[in-house]
Amino acid sequence: MSMNTVGRVTRLSGAPATELPGGITFTGNRALMLEEPLIFERGAVDRCGVDLPEVPAVASRLGTLGRTAPIDLPGLSEPEAVRHYTRLSRQNYAIDLGIFPLGSCTMKHNPRLNEKMARLPGFADIHPLQPQSSVQGALQLIDVLATWLMRLTGMPAVAMSPKAGAHGELCGMLAIRAALEARGDARKVVLVPESAHGTNPATAAFCGYAVENIPANARGRVDVDALKARLGPDVAAVMITNPNTCGLFEPDMVEICAAVHAAGGFVYCDGANFNAIVGRVRPGDLGIDAMHINLHKTFSTPHGGGGPGSGPVVLSEALAPFAPLPFVRKSKDGFELVEEELAGPNSQSFGRMVAFHGQMGMFTRALAYMMSHGADGLRQVAEDAVLNANYILASLKDIYTAPFAASGPCMHEALFSDDFLHDTGLTTLDLAKAMIDEGFHPMTMYFPLVVHGAMLVEPTETESKASLDQLIGAMRSVAERMLESPDDFRTSPHLAPRRRLDETAAARKPVLGYKPPLSDAA
């Protein structure tokens, strides 16, 4: 068995590859599937990848606070460092490798044209503190993007500075709170349906509101009667996700908004699933007061570890005066970034959420996406995303339990439960692990909470029919094999670089830093 310098076994931690005539390989590699130790094991503290000049002797002003122990950073040569991260990247999964079916988070292709535009020096190489006269193009881009967002949502105002979805929720709820305070109304309760995003109640609580749940009905939608029964002078707002986390359109939005407004409250809409309705539904027509738009979802800017989020918030006439600072305004001399407003329509702003104005790189990418699609193209985005999700739902609902399939087509995501595995003792977790062996990133699991053992699949419009057929084929095959011989799947994945990880131990006893092996420390 091969060991590295600190005694760690370098072969894959899975079962030996018994299909090999010679058993395991010396390196632990499996051809192009390369094993890689930690960077601390790769490097050595007494090595350095570059020649650094001697540090000149300077008098220490730290006194007894100066560090005496070595910092123990591993030294690697440039090729060692490059290979380390390249090898790790090959064990990762990305939208550039295959379908990323995470429901509840639109993970779509990031067009390379967006990247080209975002790297134009006039957008990429500017500094937030340089004179406004020298960044007129960037300010104009923000203004044009804002216009598109208002047009697509049918809303009269938009705050561009929030940095991502939950930040956008905070922005919308702060605007609602400011509007209520401005009329001397100290409402204390925010209603959140069960089918809403998990961040919604957190946002409301962060803004100081008491959160109350509104149950879902048997069709996976908001129970309108229960909602109406709870409305009253203490309800500040209702936060609704539409389409909701069950992948279903809330058909009663107009009625809900009218009832909330009649009771003196506001309606916040979580726009995380806007991809399903862009170009088809204008939230402003439904009567909502505030909605964030995840540019990193609907408008294809990189998501998750791939890039920062951006969550502009569209606002109704009633909330527009309370929008945060700063904002871009068109003036007779061009565009200005308004940092402070002491008088006029925006003087009631609830304040500033960020140091500077939003995510320029994401604005550029999102506008490139919009302009390359055009209005008709954006409408087709929603249509294809919904069509793809329904293709998956229709192709699998005979074997997978599909709790809401009877209530009609889904929107952008297909929702299944693990009820069909009930007699096997296997669960959604086991199925997700088996999908890793099939070479797919698993779908979202155990969310939404209203469905037992939920599996939420969102293909997006990115995927071709051939790609969808591959995913469907794998999901069908895995399900059939799980029903036939359940014991084969209790330890999945079997082919991944690491076998099933102990998530419980990781959560109960997290190790958040590198600890040298005991033999070194002794």
Binding site: L429, M445, F447, L449, E503, A507, R508
Partner: protein
């Protein structure tokens, strides 16, 4: 001593005027491995049916509701260092909190052990 259950899968053991509250064996099995439990501090006033504690497993975070109204007299400090007690001994050492009953008549709406068993069988 009497044992009561709720449809939200809490159990309640009443001894004298003090009730001990935890989650049922069925609930812990559904949650999976519990990695964190947040219990209310002594002195907290709880209302029947409202959030009283939080239990987090590798799957999800869930609220634990107070089956009755009352004032917390003691929280199970052992859960902080060893949340696994909720899995290994949900109806004994894995209790969440104790409270004094402000309205003993609220007990009338709860299920007994047999009632809870037949309720779980329908799930």
């Amino acid at each position: 001593m009497s044992l009561y259950f709720t449809k939200e899968h809490e159990w309640l053991r009443v001894e004298g005027g003090v009730a001990t509250v935890g989650i049922t064996d069925y609930a812990q099995a559904q949650l999976g491995d519990v990695v964190f439990a947040e219990v209310p501090a002594a002195g907290t006033v709880l209302a029947k049916g409202k959030e009283a504690a939080v239990v987090e497993s590798v799957k999800a975070a869930s609220d634990v509701y107070s089956p009755v109204s009352g004032t917390v007299t003691e929280a199970n400090a052992a859960l902080e260092g060893d949340p696994a007690l909720v899995n290994t001994a949900p109806e004994t050492e894995g209790w969440f909190f104790k409270l004094t009953l402000s309205d003993p008549s609220e007990l009338d709406g709860l299920m007994d052990e047999a009632g809870y068993k037949s309720f779980v069988a329908t799930l």
